[in-house]
């Protein structure tokens, strides 16, 4: 490839400021003696300047407010999730501890029955609690969607 062809293939990148210093020097040295490359480089430079000054699309007025509101709901949801997991672990430990305590206090036979009833009651209550949590989560998701 001749110097002219090489430099010509670099003209757009020169105008975009993406050439290495040595390549940039070669472009400029060649353009001084080559009217065709000089004119083309000038075209690219003008085009690049216009590209930098293109009118920017205007974001909608509500965009920041809506996005910030969405992120707050998300932060709230995440915080709620952490609390829910923490609370679930705590309740699980308490239920097991209570069952064990009943067995120790009431003796083997009666204690086993009491612990079974206790665990059954706790399981049913947990199921109600989980259902309520799922309903609340679904309601929150609907709120999020209405924000987006």
């Amino acid at each position: 490839m001749s110097e002219h062809e090489t430099v010509r293939s670099w003209l757009a990148l020169s105008a975009a400021g993406l050439l290495e210093p040595a390549e940039e020097r070669r472009v400029h040295e060649h353009a001084v003696t080559c009217p065709q490359c000089s004119a083309e480089l000038e075209d690219y430079a003008g085009l690049s300047a216009e590209m930098r000054a293109l009118p920017a699309p205007q974001p909608p007025d509500h965009l920041v407010t809506r996005t910030a509101a969405l992120l707050l709901v998300e932060a709230d949801r995440r915080q709620g999730s952490y609390f829910a997991v923490g609370a679930a672990v705590l309740v699980f430990v308490l239920v097991l501890a209570m069952g064990q305590t009943l067995r120790v206090i009431l003796g083997d036979e009666l204690g086993d029955q009491a612990a079974f009833v206790w665990l059954l009651g706790a399981t049913v209550s947990s199921l109600f609690g989980t259902t309520a949590a799922l309903v609340l989560t679904a309601a929150r998701r609907r709120t999020e969607r209405s924000i987006v």
């Binding site: 020169s14 993406l18 050439l19 430079a45 085009l47 293109l54 920017a56 809506r66 996005t67 992120l71």
Partner: protein
């Protein structure tokens, strides 16, 4: 005359303090940061997906992702680059699912006339023709041009945002500019 190939480097960047406040979950910091980036990010999405409603959705998705992944952000790196990399992923994901979208055609030619080219010429709206020519480029060329000329990103930053080699970024900018120049020549605007 030979023009210097300088690009204006005075683009706003997020302050490290702002990022720290963002990490703390401060709602005011969150709103400030979103407002700080709204024009740049919205412009980037609009150029890339050419649809204001989709740009709006992508803007919100990007910030949701930012908040969820903020713990992974390395403060030693540029927040701008990290943010735009997330934006890039969201936009490209959308474009890949869009039927008929050309991400990167190796053989492409811009249409000789955009539908509104004549009226734009008559009205002297050269910028509108430029914007129309840019919108007709394949998505990845549009992206390279907007990141370089409108965002003022360096070659390495564009490569990091788009996760492509430097040579690919250069090739996209060059081909994009060449196509734009050809288009303007055909319109007798150069």
């Amino acid at each position: 005359m030979i023009y210097p190939a300088a690009i204006d480097g005075n683009f706003p960047v997020a302050e490290p303090v702002q990022v720290t406040r963002l990490r703390s979950g401060d709602p005011a910091a969150l709103a400030e940061t979103i407002a700080f980036y709204q024009h740049r990010l919205y412009r980037y999405f609009t150029r890339l997906v050419r649809d204001p409603a989709a740009a709006d959705d992508l803007f919100q998705q990007t910030w949701l992702h930012v908040v969820r992944q903020l713990h992974r952000y390395d403060a030693a790196r540029s927040f701008d680059t990290w943010l735009f990399a997330i934006a890039h992923n969201a936009a490209i994901d959308l474009l890949r699912r869009r039927p008929g979208e050309r991400l990167e055609d190796h053989e492409f030619e811009l249409p000789a006339h955009a539908p509104d080219a004549l009226s734009a010429v008559l009205a002297g709206e050269r910028a509108a023709i430029l914007a129309a020519a840019m919108a007709a480029l394949p998505a990845l060329y549009r992206e390279a041009l907007t990141l370089r000329f409108e965002e003022g990103m360096k070659l390495e930053e564009i490569a990091e945002v788009t996760r492509t080699p430097l040579s690919t970024v250069k090739s996209r900018v060059r081909r994009g500019l060449e196509a734009m120049k050809q288009r303007l020549c055909r319109e007798q605007l150069l």
